[in-house]
Amino acid sequence: MFSGFDFDVIQRSWTYLFMEGMTFTLTLTALAMAGGIVFGTLLAMMRLSSIRPVSMLASAYVNLMRSVPLVLVIFWFFFLVPYIGAWIIGAKEPVRVGAFGSAAITFTLFEAAYYCEIMRAGIQSIPRGQVWSGFALGLDYWQTMARIVLPQAFRNMLPVLLTQTIILFQDTSLVYVISATDFLGAAAKVANRDYRLVEMYSFVAVVYFVLSYGLSTLVKGLQKRIAIIK
């Protein structure tokens, strides 16, 4: 079955695949995770707000992002970000944004909707008495959130947040559609140049499997540890 397999192509392109491709993928994942969790937490706080317009705005945003395919969102932002950039700095012409910048903004804003739902569940899992005691101690809303509610919510939801990050890690491969050189993009470029599609795509699948499976095993271990402490 593997008799006609050209393993040499993987060895030849190793540096390109990992130094360029995998670096892109991991940087994008890390940035989108950090940005997505911050923005998602703010969205969750907005969704739980008692001010109607604020909570409706956040719900509308989350529902919109969750009902549209990621591929379409990637296309949207790929074309939209240059216009928004021009609007912000007041330029006449759309600004130039590279594939990486565009992808980072897309994934941050898209994943925020999913992180928001996780953080919302996390905040809702905290007993209401915690908030009341915060207020009773004279803390204001932001202090109560930052010092009492969010640290607990974040800790309870850590395994779920990490699982979502593994999904994000896999989803970043969709930047292929805007021809970015992520891990898959790099492999696809080598595959088409050397006509080694079978070898490269099989290799990509194996690498993604090993990384995702390894990470999800780690998350499972973490989940057990957190569960015991509680």
Partner: protein, 250 residues
């Protein structure tokens, strides 16, 4: 923002002159739904089977089921798409592989896309089915056995009829995921809704009109699916369970 909207473009002819752009996009929606529905049938069949087998006491069957789930859950969908499209035909027997590669468009992309999405989704369905079966009280299975039913009969008459009704609400969101995920098939050349929106943008240079139209069509499709599934959920709700009193609103 200084973008000149030009909505009339939707009613102009597309270059292939099969009709207006609206028509072009709606045919795309047709392909999206055709892909999603066919994949959903595969996903339900395999998912129900694998999910059920993973709750049985047979060790090696559970192991095989876990292996299946882990493999298809830990590889990104687009990579699986490429495997089905580029790699699988190479490993088929020569004659069959050639036949697959020479399938006329759009079937050459449609068939791999359906298989890929179906199996990708079956893993998620299997997880839900397994969770549904495990959520039943243990006594149900024991009572079945105590009544003299065989393992198979217990599953067929006691466990599965309840489990399937319990997992229906979470499966709604899986079904919406299949519709959304079918857009990944554009990478192997299937002109479904997102693919056609992109093609329209390339033909007409009306970027935001094309994507807005596609977004609106997706939102409407979601709305229809949610409403239809809510009606179905009401119908199959298991009387007596907590969920029957105050059903979670999707």
């Amino acid at each position: 923002m200084n973008y000149n909207w030009h909505w009339k473009v939707l009613f102009e002819m597309e270059p292939g002159s099969t009709g207006t752009y609206v028509h072009y996009l709606l045919v795309g929606l047709g392909w999206t739904l055709a892909t999603a529905l066919a994949a959903w049938v595969i996903a339900l069949a395999i998912g129900a089977l694998v999910g059920t087998l993973r709750t049985t006491p047979m060790k090696w069957v559970v192991c095989a089921g876990n292996l299946y789930v882990e493999i298809f859950r830990n590889v990104p969908l687009i990579v699986q798409m490429f495997l089905w499209f580029f790699v699988v035909p190479e490993f088929l027997p020569q004659a069959l592989g050639d036949w697959v590669k020479q399938m006329p468009p759009p079937w050459g992309s449609y068939v791999p896309a359906v298989l890929c999405l179906g199996i990708f989704t079956s893993v998620r369905v299997a997880e839900q089915v397994k969770a549904g079966i495990n959520s039943l009280p243990r006594g149900q299975r024991m009572a079945g056995i105590a009544m003299g039913l065989t393992e198979t009969q217990t599953y067929g008459t006691v466990i599965l009829p309840q489990a399937f009704r319990i997992v229906l609400p979470p499966l709604t969101s899986e079904f919406m995921n299949v519709i959304k995920n079918s857009s990944v098939a554009l990478t192997i050349g299937l002109l479904e809704l997102t693919g056609r929106a992109r093609a329209m943008q390339e033909f007409s240079f009306r970027v935001f009109e094309a994507f807005t139209a596609a977004t609106v069509i997706y939102l409407l499709t979601n709305l229809v699916v949610v409403l239809a599934m809510r009606a179905l959920e009401r119908k199959v709700r298991v009387p007596g369970l907590i969920a029957a009193d105050n059903a979670p609103q999707a």
